[in-house]
Each structure stands twice: as structure tokens, then as C-alpha cells.
């Protein structure tokens, strides 16, 4: 199968391309950029006039709900959502049921995803068995089965000794640890940012210090044990500051922020809107501004969707009882574009935050369109408006704080291995 993507504007930040260039695809790989390779005859031509051609997006955190929560979402529904969102590679956290702490489960997940052939799925293995924070998992076996790193999902390791040893063990083999930094005790039972809004609404707060204290100890341990660590979904200004200092000191640390947190604050909880019940909690506008600024100056490396499909019943409850999370795969592009527009930064910068940067964090070859790279491609119209609605979303999770709002930026084609997996 040979495809010619013509007349499009190619943005490939890793290869420093931001120009009108045609893309030629053969045998699932990029065969040529700008000029057709010798003897290239396309079976299919995609006219991308007025559209942006970019590497397929790489999402550092998308819950697919399999195994264990198929009533919330299935691998098929969520990978279709990924394709509709232009996401061609995604990392999924290990908090499935059962937890991804055994090689067999990882192999099965990889196998099922491969059969569906809608996106590359990169599981993050559990760092400790059952995510209980006590016993290490078989990290080498899990890596062989397909894990690209190790994570505690939304739980914290409270025993510092275990945390330290987990870092040492992972560092032995050069694995990356993905942690959402949160002090277990300070965050316990909390559902909102500990501030004026939570106080007014009578919601139990999670202080910003719950994140900064955890980051401080994680960074210290990463430094001592020389472990590569990735901080997932930063939410506080203090966290961004600590990260900035750590990077200056040469600690091997990267970080992401969820697309929601680039735009929303605790004010968006409004009158107890359960869609705004997220983990980490939406924080103050000062925090949000620091996150956006940290992304802009490169302190924060990537934007993730934090895709967490939740069924309606789990949201139709009073705020604190509702399950946290929002669907996100299909919103990753427009929310990233909006961040770039708000920050007056280039389209290329925006694309980098969801392509080459997250790919390098995962240690995968995707995220760029150099010759011979996998032809994982997203073609989108950055000016196209669309309204977020339950019927519009492919994801089985219809819950998002952006429901009913108009987004700018829509994926028109998604290609995986040179095959069109989505077209609108």
C-alpha cells in the first residue's frame, strides 16, 4: 500500500520541519518527504490542502479499562477514540482489575491491542504488586512482556524504604518510574483543591503541599539512586518550581500535565459539577498559570489526555461520591492547540508536547516522521470547530468538564503503520 499525502503543511518538530511538504508512505513506513522516492506510484492520495500533517500523537496516560471494567469502556471503544483523536501511541497505567503486575496480563493486553490495530498500546507495569506499595513486581519479566516503565497509577507508596528500593531496583536495569506525586495522608479522602472553593463548598481539600512534599522526596530519592523518573500530571505551582530546580541540578526527571489542567481551575466545580471531579484535583488559577508557563518554558515536557472513561452511573452522585476522571483522548488535540493559542506559542511547540517529547519519555521510536519512521500520522484542521457532545465522542466514557463546549481543531485522518484508521 502506497499513500501520497499531498498539499498538506507538515509539522514534525523532532526533524525541525514546519513547511508545506508532501509525505510519501510505502510498506507502513515514511518513504519520502517533499520529493517522491524513485518510482513511487501511489495507490491512494490524500489531499491535505489546508490541513496540518503531523506525527501521530503520543499520549502518556490513557486508561482503556481492560481488563476488569469493560462496563466503563472496552479496548475497542477506547482505541477507536484514540484513532478519532489522532493518538497513535499511548501508555496505559496499571490500575486495571486485575492490576498489571503479571507478565501474562501484559502480554494479553498487548495481543488484544495488536489485533485491533488502532493504536500502539504501551502498558506501564505496576511498580509494586497489587499497587499495594509493599512488594516489588517482576520488572524484568514485565518489561519482556511489553511494559515500557513502571507506575503506581493513582496510589502512593507510603513506606519510604519500599519507595527507595523500588527506585534502586528499577535503576539497576535502566527502567523509568512514572509517579503521580501525592502524599497519601495529606490527600486522604480529599476531592478538591484545599482552598477557598473547597472551603465554601464544604468539600474535603487536598492541599498543594500534598504534591510538593511528595515531589521533594521523589526527586531526592531519584537523585540518590540515579533513577530516571517521570512525574505524571503535575497540578501545582510549587511542583513546577521544584521540577525546574531539579532539572537545573541535572536530575533525570521529566513531567507531564493533563490537558484539562491547562485550562480549568477549582472554580469550574461550580455548583458541585461531578465532571470536574478529577485526579489530581483542579487547582487555583495561580497553579494553572504556572503549569501553562512551565509547559511553555520546557520545564514540563508533555501534555497527556489523562483519559479516564467513567460510566454515567458513577458520575450521577454527589460530588465527593462520584468517580474521578474524564474522557480525554478526543480532546487532547484541541486542548493542546488552545494552550498554544493562549500562550502565543507556535503550532510546532504544541505538536511537540504531544509527539516527540512524550515518545522520548516512553523510549519509543514514534513521534516523528523522518524517512523510514513508522507512518503513524495525524492530519488535522486546526481551525475546524466542533462541539463536544456524547454522540460526537467515540469513547464509551462521555463524561468531561468540556461537554457542550466548542473546540477548535479536529482530526481528519489518522494513519497507523501507513493504514488509515480514522477519517472524518
Amino acid at each position: 500500500m502506497k499513500i501520497h499525502i499531498k498539499n498538506g503543511h507538515l509539522i514534525d518538530p523532532k526533524n525541525n520541519i514546519d513547511a508545506k511538504q508532501d509525505v510519501y508512505i510505502a510498506a507502513g513506513k515514511v518513504a519520502g518527504i517533499g520529493n517522491a522516492p524513485d518510482g513511487f506510484v501511489a495507490n491512494q492520495t490524500i489531499d491535505a490542502a489546508g490541513l496540518i500533517v503531523a506525527p501521530g500523537f503520543v499520549d502518556l496516560s490513557a486508561r482503556l479499562r481492560e481488563p476488569g471494567s469493560e462496563y466503563k469502556a472496552t479496548l475497542r471503544s477506547e482505541l477507536q477514540a484514540a484513532a478519532a483523536g489522532g493518538v497513535t501511541s499511548l501508555a496505559c497505567p496499571p490500575d486495571t482489575d486485575p492490576v498489571l503486575d503479571e507478565p501474562g496480563l501484559v502480554e494479553m493486553l498487548k495481543h488484544r491491542a495488536k489485533q485491533l490495530n488502532l493504536a500502539h498500546v504501551y502498558p506501564l507495569g505496576a511498580l509494586t504488586r497489587q499497587l499495594a506499595g509493599k512488594l516489588l513486581t517482576e520488572m524484568c519479566e514485565l518489561t519482556e512482556a511489553g511494559c515500557v516503565g513502571f507506575s503506581q497509577a493513582d496510589t502512593s507508596i507510603t513506606d519510604t524504604q519500599v519507595l527507595w528500593r523500588a527506585f534502586e531496583y528499577a535503576a539497576t536495569f535502566g527502567y523509568t518510574i512514572f509517579l503521580r506525586a501525592e502524599d497519601h495522608y495529606l490527600a486522604q479522602n480529599g476531592v478538591a483543591h484545599d482552598g477557598e472553593i473547597a472551603s465554601r463548598l464544604g468539600l474535603k481539600g487536598i492541599p498543594a503541599a500534598a504534591e510538593s512534599l511528595a515531589i521533594a522526596s521523589i526527586l531526592r530519592i531519584a537523585h540518590e539512586t540515579k533513577t530516571r523518573v517521570h512525574l505524571c500530571r503535575l497540578s501545582t505551582a510549587e511542583g513546577v518550581d521544584l521540577l525546574r530546580q531539579a532539572k537545573k541540578q541535572g536530575i533525570q526527571v521529566t513531567a507531564d500535565v493533563s490537558a484539562q489542567h491547562c485550562h480549568l481551575t477549582d472554580h469550574d466545580i461550580g455548583f458541585f459539577n461531578a465532571h470536574a471531579n478529577l485526579k489530581p484535583p483542579l487547582r487555583s488559577s495561580r497553579d494553572k498559570n504556572a503549569l501553562c508557563q512551565g509547559l511553555k518554558d520546557g520545564t514540563i515536557d508533555a501534555i497527556c489526555s489523562d483519559h479516564t472513561p467513567v460510566d454515567d452511573d458513577a458520575k450521577l452522585l454527589p460530588f465527593a461520591e462520584a468517580e474521578a476522571g474524564a474522557t480525554g483522548l478526543e480532546l487532547l488535540l484541541p486542548l493542546t492547540l488552545k494552550w498554544a493559542a493562549d500562550q502565543k506559542t507556535s503550532l510546532s511547540e504544541a505538536v511537540a508536547k504531544i509527539t516527540c517529547h512524550p515518545a522520548s519519555i516512553l523510549g519509543i521510536a514514534s513521534g516523528h516522521l523522518g524517512v523510514n519512521a513508522d507512518a503513524d500520522i495525524a492530519i488535522f484542521n486546526p481551525q475546524q470547530e466542533w462541539k463536544v457532545s456524547a454522540s460526537q465522542l467515540k469513547s464509551q466514557g462521555k463524561n468531561t468538564p468540556f461537554l457542550g463546549l466548542t473546540m477548535l481543531g479536529k482530526v481528519r485522518y489518522t494513519l497507523l503503520h501507513g493504514q488509515v484508521t480514522y477519517q472524518a
Partner: protein, 326 residues
């Protein structure tokens, strides 16, 4: 700004929280309540304002006092009353809040009085009932207890009518208290110029000063020259642990004794939403003393709840016309 408690004409549709309600509506409720105070003193303690209406008390959290006063208020308005203690029935069988509410809607109730352990539960229910049903929040988590806030300002207004010239201090567990939040909003909305909170730092929510209060951690300084002292209840489970070391130490530092009462103005009144922990947050001699208005609060509570129900049921601006001599 959108307010889920008001209808398109700005009239009260649900009573969920004091926050965001205009002063005009608070005054309307208090004035209407004045006309109902007299009803209880008559031989026939009933007015027909809610005749033929069904009021449903849905209590997801146990309560005897609040439920009883709502029941009495509804019955004095001639409504039919159904009491449902969901905490002990449906919820334990796995029924969701909405299932419970849908069932009651199907039984053609006209008004829901709701108490729930989660903040926002009353808002949640109000969002899901049809237009003809009003919801009254009888306490949701730590968020709001608007009828308590109203009866407290009603009591204040009765004893200290110069609201714009008062100093009021709330003492105790503000962090966990829906009553404190409702009192603060009611007092500030009605123009009380100085509202203070007095508590140890462990019992104050983050950014409490943004609610328009001055923060004190010392009874002597906090009570100085105040006209009204509103004590807050301290839950048993919070008396010893990481929030407070012991009930004894709490009583010593923040309990209202005759001695500490003397820091306030000589004619200051003492209030408590009940039930009281004598010897923990308040000394018996103060609770039963001549400055205490704790029992009148209970009496006024019925009149205020009647007023809220009457206004919600018929847009009644005054119960006086049908309520007889007040």
C-alpha cells in the same frame, strides 16, 4: 449569574444554601417567619397554606431534632408529611440517591426536605427533580444548613435588631460545620459588619478569611466586645486525635465558660445550634444562663421553616394574611 436556587423571575425555587441569595429574599423569609411565631401560641396551631401538599423528609443521615422541627413546621402548615430514613433502608440495599428520589417523585410529593452526609447532595437532587418540586436542604455534609443559618439570624434579629451595628463571633469547629458556613453567609448578607471565627488552626478550613470573617485563635481577644456568640458543636469523634488532643484541653482553651463570657459585651447573647456537649464546648452555667437564647432558637426554628415552606409552596410573601394575628 446563574443561581440554581432561583427561578427565571428571581424567586426562590429551592433552598440549598444561603450563599448567593439576595438580601431581599433573606429578609422576606425572616419577615414571613415573624408572622408564624404567633401561630404556635394559639389554641389551633395550624394554618392551611400547604393543605393538600405532600412534604417528604428524606434523611440519608440520621437526625431527630431537625427532622422533627421540619415535620412540625409542615404539619402546622396543614401539609401531609412523609418521613423517610434512607440511611437505614434503601441505601443499605444498594439503591442510589436518584433511585430513591425517582420513587418519591412517582408518589407525587411536592416538596423534598433533604439531609445527606455529602456536600452538594441537595444541589444534586435539585438538579434532577421536575420543575414542580422544591428541594429544601436540611444539611449536606460540611456545606450548608440554610434553615439553621436563617433561624440563627432570625434569633439575632429578634434580640439585636441593629444588624448593621453588630459584632458576632462563631466559636469552634468551623472546618466540619455546615452550620457555621450558613451562619457566616446569612450574617454577612444581612449586613453584619464584623463576623469573627475563633478556633484552633486545626478546625478552620483553608482560606476561611475569604468568606468575609476575621480569624482569632484566642477566646479573650476574639470575644472582646462582641454582641453575639454562636457556639458550634464539636463531634465526639473529633475530640481526641490529630485535630485536638482532648476534650478537656478543648474546653479549657475554647469552651465557653462564665469567665470567658465576660470578655464579651455585658448584654451579649449566647447561641448554640444543638445538640450541645456540655462541658466540652460550653459550660452548663452559660448554656442555662440568662444570656443564653438556645431554647428560643429551637422555637424560632419552626417559624423559619414554616416560612421557607410557605414561600416555596406559593410564592407567599407573607403568611400573615392567612396566618391570622401574629
Amino acid at each position: 449569574m446563574y443561581n440554581p436556587q432561583l427561578d427565571a423571575d428571581g424567586k426562590l425555587k429551592h433552598l440549598l444554601t444561603i450563599e448567593g441569595l439576595p438580601k431581599k429574599i433573606l429578609t422576606q423569609i425572616l419577615d414571613t417567619a415573624e408572622t408564624f411565631v404567633g401561630v404556635a401560641e394559639r389554641d389551633i396551631k395550624k394554618v392551611p397554606l400547604l393543605r393538600g401538599k405532600t412534604v417528604c423528609n428524606i434523611f440519608f443521615e440520621n437526625s431527630t431534632r431537625t427532622r422533627t422541627t421540619f415535620e412540625i413546621a409542615a404539619k402546622r402548615l396543614s401539609a401531609d408529611v412523609i418521613n423517610l430514613n434512607v440511611g437505614t433502608s434503601s441505601q443499605s440495599k444498594g439503591e442510589t440517591i436518584l433511585d430513591t428520589v425517582d420513587n418519591l417523585i412517582a408518589m407525587h410529593a411536592d416538596m423534598f426536605v433533604v439531609r445527606h452526609g455529602q456536600s452538594g447532595a441537595a444541589h444534586f437532587i435539585a438538579q434532577h427533580v421536575p420543575d414542580n418540586i422544591s428541594v429544601i436542604n436540611a444539611g449536606d455534609g460540611r456545606h450548608a444548613h440554610p434553615t439553621q443559618g436563617l433561624l440563627d439570624v432570625f434569633t439575632v434579629r429578634r434580640y439585636k435588631p441593629e444588624m448593621h451595628n453588630l459584632r458576632v463571633a462563631l466559636v469552634g469547629d468551623v472546618l466540619h460545620s455546615r452550620v457555621a458556613r450558613s451562619e457566616i453567609h446569612a450574617l454577612t448578607t444581612l449586613g453584619v459588619p464584623e463576623v469573627r471565627v475563633i478556633a484552633p488552626k486545626t478546625l478552620l478550613p483553608a482560606g476561611v478569611e475569604k468568606l468575609g470573617v476575621q480569624v482569632f485563635h484566642d477566646m479573650k481577644a476574639g470575644l472582646r466586645d462582641v454582641d453575639v456568640i454562636m457556639m458550634l458543636r464539636l463531634q465526639n469523634e473529633r475530640m481526641s486525635g490529630a485535630l485536638l488532643p482532648s476534650a478537656q484541653e478543648y474546653f479549657k482553651t475554647f469552651g465557653l465558660t462564665q469567665e470567658k463570657l465576660e470578655f464579651a459585651k455585658p448584654d451579649a447573647i449566647v447561641m448554640h445550634p444543638g445538640p450541645m456537649n456540655r462541658g466540652v464546648e460550653i459550660d452548663s452555667s452559660v448554656a442555662d444562663g440568662h444570656q443564653s437564647v438556645i431554647l428560643p432558637q429551637v422555637t424560632f426554628g419552626i417559624a423559619v421553616r414554616m416560612a421557607v415552606m410557605a414561600i416555596l409552596a406559593g410564592g407567599q410573601s407573607s403568611g400573615g394574611s392567612t396566618g391570622g394575628s401574629a
